[in-house]
């Protein structure tokens, strides 16, 4: 067992910290947020250049064949500077799902930064994808027609192609298909999220789907999706760990600098003890991330239990650390002008994406009762 970074992981982390440290300043992020599509094309080119988009792509698909641990190392740096660019969709979910597809062009294009995808999975009236109920593939000639409605599709605004989960007329299970995001029969409503990213509600009004566009059949679609979603959750947990550790550093610095009653507020024991409890929570969260990574490639039930346990710990730690981070900043903590409120909002969306605490408690309960 070894928790220390390999040389490759150290290089990856250093280059990531350098890039996002220099580029993703508070000012830059606030400017990006107010921009039309919130997409930073220059940064994306750098991500491709640094190999981040090829990291999780298998070597036999032309990628770097990196492990989920490698991805997590990168994601902690991403999280420390609150980068909301569509990395999880393209560097984590895309390789996990598209590696199962026979045709590899799209994955190479994603790896080189030329095309992007988004996963359209959750539907209205759900609490995290229990399987498509509205979105369906109906047979039509040699192929299919896709109709239905997806909600809260993350990273849709910059996606060229959509990965869509759907039921198939007359079959059990969930299929996964690929459609062109610009298809005439697709209607999207794009809106901002509280963390500066955007999402979309997407309606499919009879999109033509060829048999080749089916990347997972109803028999194995659920398994492929569950694996991809757990990898996405791990990536977000790594971002959360990065964000929490950054919050600790920001708060410690603030406590030394801010003076009240004639001394730095960090001299007050009550605030010291809050910082200590934040440290304990963040430390446990990083351990929980390792727990999830340790079981990430195990059998599904073991993997799901570990990921869900980790999601509970990371989610609760995120709340504890970010709430207290704001509290320690006093009034400045609730402004848009200090970093800490941005960590607060991002940590909230990280908890709520790919299964919130409640979802993961319920998932464990159902695993235990099986």
């Amino acid at each position: 067992m070894d928790f220390n970074l390999s040389d490759m992981q150290r290089m990856l982390l250093d280059s990531a910290e350098r890039l996002v440290g220099n580029r993703y300043t508070l000012e830059h992020r606030r400017a990006l947020r107010d921009q039309h599509d919130g997409f930073d094309a220059d940064a994306w080119a750098s991500f491709a250049e640094l190999g981040w988009l090829a990291l999780a792509v298998p070597e036999d698909k032309g990628g770097l064949g990196g492990s989920i641990e490698d991805v997590a190392v990168l994601m902690t740096a991403i999280g420390s500077r609150l980068v909301v660019d569509p990395l999880v969709s393209n560097a984590v979910i895309a390789p996990a799902i598209l590696s199962h597809a026979p045709e590899g062009d799209l994955l190479s294009d994603i790896a080189s930064g030329q095309r992007r995808v988004a996963l359209a999975h959750d539907e209205p009236g759900e609490r995290y994808g229990q399987g498509p109920r509205i979105t369906r593939l109906v047979r039509h000639g040699n192929g299919f027609t896709l109709t239905g409605q997806k909600m809260l599709v993350l990273d849709a605004v910059s996606a060229d192609m959509l990965i869509v989960s759907a039921s198939v007329e007359g079959e059990d299970g969930t299929a996964v298909v690929l459609v062109d995001a610009k298809d005439q029969a697709i209607v999207s409503e794009i809106y901002p999220l509280i963390d500066g990213a955007q999402a979309a509600d997407i309606r499919f009004e009879g999109v033509s789907v060829t048999p080749q566009a089916i990347i997972a059949s109803p028999e194995n679609g659920s398994v492929v999706l569950a694996d991809a979603l757990d990898r996405a959750k791990i990536a977000l947990m790594a971002q959360a760990v990065g964000s929490m550790e950054a919050t600790l550093a920001i708060c410690a610095a603030y406590l030394k600098e801010r003076k009240q009653f004639g001394q730095p507020i960090g001299k007050f024991q009550a605030l010291q003890h809050i910082m200590a409890d934040m440290f304990v929570a963040a430390h446990q969260a990083r351990s929980a991330l390792y727990l999830a990574l340790g079981w990430a490639t195990a059998a599904p039930a073991q993997r799901m239990r570990a990921v869900s346990h980790a999601a509970i710990i990371v989610g609760e730690a995120s709340q504890f650390v970010s709430r207290n981070g704001v509290q320690l900043h006093g009034g400045y903590g609730v402004t848009d002008e200090y970093e800490v409120s941005h960590h607060y909002r991002r940590l909230l969306t990280l908890e709520k994406s790919y299964g919130d605490i409640d979802f993961h408690i319920r998932r464990i309960a159902s695993l235990e009762s099986e």
Binding site: I194, R323, D336, E337, F359
Partner: protein, 399 residues
């Protein structure tokens, strides 16, 4: 002991409820329902005060001679409770509950005549200029200075966290008029026309997309000496007077009751596999415990209003109301966010918040997250949670 509210208060409640149902405009109610508790609708506060003033109800807590009502504290409790339940807008607190009482208690007749009617009738929005960038919890350590030159003060300095200053006509300020005496002693209470030359107001963008909190920069602002309230150097005393004036306010009991009802509505309305969220393990206990806490807090408020002789210092008791109330404001809105799950990630611009987002989106999503984000301030403003704990330790236990 008599622990019943009784029939008279119940009749009074019905009377208020009927009046509010008649008076409260639907659009105002809709805005308040979407963003209740945030301060985005400063102008609604004034309009609503003007409507209430028609019944003589805009400042019931004032002495009758200034336009108040001789209601008992419990009647005022029921009145506020009904207004809040009906989604009436918040009042312009700075006017009706802060500067108003200071003026009618310590002000000159000319000040009373000039300012009180406008506050009562909702004609003028008031902002509070107490905090400064360097003195959050350590209020007495303020630096904004006012120097008397002839019949006017020349004011220089900077204030922060003044809610609604951009919508305000007037502000009441704590300024240092004497720097030769100990911190609290040199502070005076000054009324300043916010249109005065030398004043710059900057709205601070907030965590939830609002920009109601402002910074006020004062650069050689000339203020007539007649705008000083009471005695020079007594500003700290007046500020403490008004902070002590309404001991139960910081419980936000009406707000907590109303938002908790909304929380149960969300939990009953939204379902998972046909089971209302109110019955799911993760949510059921949280909801019921919060209902128990708000019920207990309401009785804590009633104890103060009904004049219980406390075994402990009354200021310590007021701080417990603030601690409990502010934590509940956070806990209730946190639960709303958790009930809304992934949907809570969406940012609804304020101008859309009182519309229903889209047919796909359930009611009671827009505005919830923004309110929850804004509520992080509940344990910061008006004395942080840590300051309140210090007050209790000192006044209740002599530690």
């Amino acid at each position: 002991m008599d622990l019943q509210l009784g029939k008279e208060l119940d009749d009074f409640r019905q009377m208020v409820r009927a009046a509010v149902a008649e008076d409260l405009p639907a659009d105002m109610r809709a805005r308040q329902r979407a963003f209740g508790g945030l301060q985005s609708e400063n102008l609604d506060s004034l309009t609503w005060a003007a409507i209430l003033a028609r019944r003589g109800w805009s400042v019931p807590q004032w002495p009758v001679e200034y336009g108040g009502k001789d209601w008992t504290p419990l009647q005022k409790f029921v009145f506020e409770d009904e207004l809040s339940s009906a989604w009436a807008p918040d009042v312009n607190w700075g006017g009706t509950h802060m500067v108003g009482p200071v003026i009618y208690t310590f002000g000159t007749q000319a000040q009373k005549d000039r300012f009180l009617p406008d506050i009562r009738e909702g004609k003028c929005f008031w902002a509070q200029g107490f905090s400064e960038p360097g003195n959050g919890s350590d209020l007495a350590n303020l630096r904004t200075g006012a120097v008397l030159q002839g019949d006017r003060y020349i004011v220089n300095g900077q204030k922060i966290w003044t809610s609604g200053a951009h919508d305000a006509a007037w502000g009441f300020f704590l300024v240092r008029t004497d720097s030769t005496v100990k911190a609290q002693r040199g502070i005076s209470f000054l009324l300043i026309d916010l249109k005065s030359p030398g004043i710059t107001i900057r709205q601070i963008p907030e965590i939830n997309g609002e920009a109601d909190l402002c910074e006020i920069f004062l650069d050689n602002v000339e203020v007539p000496a007649e705008n000083l309230v009471g005695e020079p150097g007594m500003g700290w005393t007046y500020a403490k007077f008004l902070l002590d004036h309404e001991r139960t306010t910081s419980s936000f009991i009406y707000w907590n009751k109303r938002e908790l009802r909304r929380t149960r509505a969300i939990a009953e309305m939204q379902a998972l596999d046909g089971m209302p969220l109110a019955q799911l393990p993760q949510f059921q206990s949280r909801l019921i415990k919060l209902e128990a806490e708000v019920a207990a807090l309401e009785w804590s408020v009633l104890r103060v209003l009904a004049g219980e002789d406390f075994a402990y210092n009354l200021t310590a008791v007021a701080s417990t109301l603030k601690v409990s109330g502010s934590r509940l404001q956070q806990a209730i809105t946190e639960l709303q966010v958790d009930l809304n799950g992934a949907l809570s990630m969406r940012r609804f611009p304020i101008e859309l918040a009182h519309q229903r987002a889209a047919p796909l989106w359930p009611d009671n999503i827009a505005g919830r997250t923004a309110t929850a984000l804004g509520m992080r301030a509940a344990t910061i403003f008006g004395g942080t949670l840590q300051i309140q704990r210090g007050i209790i330790a000192k006044l209740a236990f002599g530690l």
